[in-house]
Symmetry: C2
């Protein structure tokens, strides 16, 4: 075990800013950029404590994001400065859970995040025992006391029929250093399913991302939407873009305080039509 006197604090805070060019049409920071900031902060926090990606890569290990949940009361607007605090809530043999708190002016809580990470062997892509790295150093940083008052990151249970909303071929910009489609890119592709007008009437309250398998350049991604709650997406839309006038008017006519959409992303290829599940997601909007 490491000498505890050398340890940094368990919770660390990092400053961020809602850059104008990272904000949407309503001047609010886009969730994808916030998600990126959370992952950046996770990366810094773990690096500073000795179990970050650069240290792991030397041991043929890497972190893989397994689940991510973000729940926001309010999104920063352009030019707002905000703070992200992060800490390890738990470290089991094969996964760790890391939480986030997003604070705005005068320390006002804007929202929270939760994430679950596995450690894998870079070559076999199989999970490895986290406690075997640096003699279980990460255990020294577990903080079970700091509060994260949002529900755990869900593995997203999907029932009922799904409608193919969009097919995507991952491009250069989708692929990250690990050679697979970047976690946040899935999130951005999912948010891009919804008509822009929805974001005027509703705010994106919570997103749960469950990363089931990796996908790569050359795969075809199929994005399915299950709107069992409100059935906004009709079966006639099963091969086309969601953002149609019919959907839009269905959204407008629905007088609901919140709407939840479940989404499944599968992968296939030109030659292999069998679909393998890659991501499950739940998105919750609430009336503004």
């Amino acid at each position: 075990m490491t000498d505890s006197s050398n340890l940094l604090s368990k919770v660390a805070s990092y400053d961020a800013k809602a850059e104008q060019f990272h904000c949407d049409f309503s001047n609010h920071l886009m969730l994808g950029h916030l998600g990126n900031e959370l992952l950046n902060v996770a990366d810094r926090h773990s690096m500073e404590r000795g179990y970050g990606m650069p240290a792991l890569i030397k041991m043929n290990r890497t972190w893989v994001l397994s689940r991510l949940a973000i729940e926001m009361n309010e999104m920063p607007v352009a030019y707002d400065r905000f703070t992200i605090s992060t800490w390890i809530e738990d470290a089991k043999r094969f996964y760790t859970s890391r939480n986030f708190k997003v604070s705005g002016k005068k320390g006002m809580t804007l929202g929270y995040g939760r994430s679950i990470w596995a450690m894998i062997d870079v070559e076999t892509r199989k999970p490895v025992d986290i406690s075997s790295v640096k003699d279980g150093l990460i255990g020294e940083y577990v903080d079970k006391d700091t509060l994260c008052p949002i529900k755990p990151a869900s593995r997203v249970i999907i029932n009922g029929p799904m409608h193919l909303a969009r097919q995507i071929k991952p491009c250069y910009g989708d692929i990250d250093i690990n050679g697979h489609v970047n976690s946040i890119k899935y999130l951005e592709h999912i948010i891009d399913l919804f008509p822009i007008e929805l974001f005027s009437e509703y705010s994106l309250k919570r997103i749960d991302m469950a990363y089931v398998a990796e996908s790569h350049y050359g795969d075809i991604l199929n994005i399915y939407v299950d709107d069992s709650e409100y059935n906004v997406y009709g079966s006639t839309l099963n091969t086309v873009d969601c953002r149609t006038e019919e959907n839009l008017s269905a959204n407008k006519n629905a007088d609901n305080i919140s709407r939840i959409y479940n989404i499944r992303i599968t992968k296939c290829s030109e030659n292999e039509k069998n679909e393998v599940e890659v991501v499950r997601c739940s998105v919750k909007f609430v009336k503004v």
Copy 2:
């Protein structure tokens, strides 16, 4: 005129970092993220000097990016800290030119940028006289002495046949606070046209973006590629994705030190099939 003694320096430098999650499969910062940083820095520099977006909006004015050129010797890699310096090279009646220098470790020059901006009336969307704002304050900041040794941002002249490489419907994430497709999003969509393998053999040396007209949510964007130099994109590809095996092998067989691709983006709509030019672009790759 403002009392010169209150003026800040003409050239200002801002620190940035290549966040891991902003890097591509080869661990280099993606050009879209660098472009975003340049625009952020332009925004900060002009805000600090009294003619930024927030000040202009109160006068029903806004800056619109007309041209952007980025030329890099080297891209930062993940975790690299770098510095962006920016200054106004010229301020004419209807446009200003702003330059950028990107520096890495020990002040090493990584590359440069050039941009041209018009000021428009928010409602009429027509150009307005820049010298009418704050009694020509911007003129106090013109710096013609600082060197920017790359060619001016080109308006990109396109000759020869163009091939439709991709059609895109702008989504939520493409639209910025001005209500139009974000300048950097066009750049990212263009870079995403190229097969990922190209980025292993070549590095993206320079991009010239000429913004001709605005496009909006609901438009359909048509992206055309003119590869007159090497004719990599054959006429048989006129309705499909560029990233095919044939293109790839054509790229691989070409023994060229550099390749230049010209791109034109037009907009149309479901009801209006006449196409209006939105963006012209030239992308130069050089052999690694």
